[in-house]
Symmetry: C2
Subunit: 335 residues, 2 copies
């Protein structure tokens, strides 16, 4: 799995400049890369801190020197997790998500007062309270001793063709309806993060933009030239215009949203389609003469966040040559 | 991720007895478990050796003391892989798959004469030669110095409702058409491996049977009581009869075949459905009163082979209590 560091740097600089131009705080989601070297580059480019999904991810980035972390997830503090949250809150600026009175109470009881952000559902219908309920939860959490720093949402329903603008509108409306005066009003998936007008948002948390992937290309958000991470696969079998390459779901991931044209894309052959994927076989149809057995093809995965989670190391390349390797320090950090 | 060792042992013993009763060689596919402790149990139960998917898996099981390994994959011997294959062939009984004259030649040139099996396509249409072409490839491979030990196929098209019997017939016919007198006639996915009459097969290579998973249950091949591996998830959010549990595609895997009713199943609540899955969220709809925040639910993944590949360690339980932990030694061994 190779990362083109020049493309990566361009992606990091582009998002940082875009956020700065609009006066937005950038708090990138590190679940995408799980890598300390990339986290440090994000901070150097001006990120205020990182967003993470789990306590373990927070611990690993804290160990790596990141001092400002937001766990954008309505964590339930089991006794073991409560102990770890307490320890974390003692050594970094920590924020955690809540989306219910029960979780606010459980955190207060098991961990103590925390800096929290109230999660608001802006239309993705996963976790988060309805915007109209945010004020009551904020008041209740403050009564429990938490410091409510603001509100956040994830417009995950931006992941569909032509849905981006509506998702961004939903995102803005949800935050306005929840609390237009909150100190932190945080949103921004990679598809919505760079829209010119994000309304009431003052913080964005894009993740995928560091690498980009086939989904972003097929949504029209990015070009193949923006894809920094690819998996090299060797052609092992061939029949007509169809080949089998030795990269499957165990290295690419099996994610495939309804709009995807296949199980990943070949940046160097935009007309090729990965029509089937098993654990170690990608079945690729070529528009013309396919590559020969033994040839190597580069594959951009559909969803790079799950791809990176499959390997221990990223091969760092520049101008086609390896210049470094980075450990995926938070691979598998699910708890 | 927990493995009930009592269910595991029953699964291992059942498949071993079933193979023995029919006079079949059992060469289980270790890509499912990637774990030395389970490999050793399979050998103790009478497996002749193991099947693996990659050179790296073969190296890891060879290091772990398994002396008979079949790489059931049409590997292309890049220089670095050729060196590793030579080293492996020098220390274990090694067989590799071929499905073309080009790969037979490349192996002869780069590695030297090997024990090979010719892969035959029995209807899955992935790799493998047409049955009618197996004889010519066998002759050509022998001329190159390889010892052709037989033929193999994978009836992957058995993974659909009601397709098992037809897939098993296709599998048998393909091997008969290819070479009914081959020394090794190897097939057998978990769905087809225990059919009473496997025709010309004298070896089976099931993988999933050690753990089983939601796919096997939904195909009617297994019951929830046969599922040995589950992922424990905590309920973190709840609206009506719908909850969010903190296990997503980064621990369950994103596999979802067309017939699947969701992204995994809850063995303890057969009526529940996992209607959406993101990286750290499983959205679960319950038929009745859902569990409360903080409650723990057990999830059987759709496709256990990709699930195991996401963790470094399996928690081994018996009677609900942890009794051991096993390292997933070949996790990520894709090359």
């Amino acid at each position: 799995m190779a990362v083109d560091v020049d493309v990566l740097e361009r992606n990091l600089a582009g998002m940082a400049a875009s956020a700065a131009d609009r006066g937005l705080t950038l708090r990138p989601h590190a679940k995408t890369h799980k890598t300390l070297e990339i986290a440090r580059r994000q901070i150097r480019h001006g990120a205020a801190g990182l967003t993470v999904a789990t306590v373990r991810e927070a611990e690993i980035f804290a160990d790596g020197g990141v001092g400002d972390l937001f766990i954008a997830y309505p964590i339930w503090p089991s006794p073991e997790r409560a102990r770890r949250l307490r320890e974390l809150a003692g050594r970094v600026a920590l924020r955690v998500g809540i989306d219910s009175l029960e979780s606010a109470e459980a955190l207060a009881r098991a961990v103590g007062p925390l800096d929290v952000l109230v999660e608001v559902d802006s239309g993705h219908h996963r976790s988060g309270v309805r915007p109209a309920d945010a004020e009551a939860l904020t008041a209740a959490a403050e009564k429990l001793g938490h410091r409510v720093r603001g509100i956040f949402t994830f417009p995950g329903h931006s992941y569909g063709p032509g849905l981006r603008d509506q998702a961004a509108l939903d995102e803005a409306r949800a935050l306005v309806d929840a609390d237009p005066h909150a100190e932190v009003r945080s949103g921004g998936s990679t598809p919505t993060a760079e829209l010119a007008d994000l309304g009431p948002l003052n913080e964005i948390r894009p993740g995928v933009y560091v690498f980009n992937d086939a989904q972003q290309v097929e949504l029209g958000i990015r070009d193949f030239g923006d894809v920094a991470l690819t998996v090299a696969a060797t052609v092992v079998s061939r029949t007509g215009n169809r080949v089998i390459a030795d990269a499957g779901s165990k290295v690419l991931g099996a994610d495939r949203l309804a709009f995807a044209t296949g199980f990943g894309r070949l940046p160097d052959v935009p007309g090729a389609r990965i029509v089937a994927l098993s654990e170690h076989h990608a079945t690729i149809e070529f528009p013309d003469e396919p590559p020969a057995r033994g040839d190597v093809v580069r594959i951009a995965p559909n969803h790079v966040c799950t791809t990176v989670n499959l390997v221990d190391e990223l091969v760092v390349v520049s101008g086609g040559a390896q210049v470094d390797s980075w450990r995926v320090a938070a691979r598998g950090a699910n708890s």
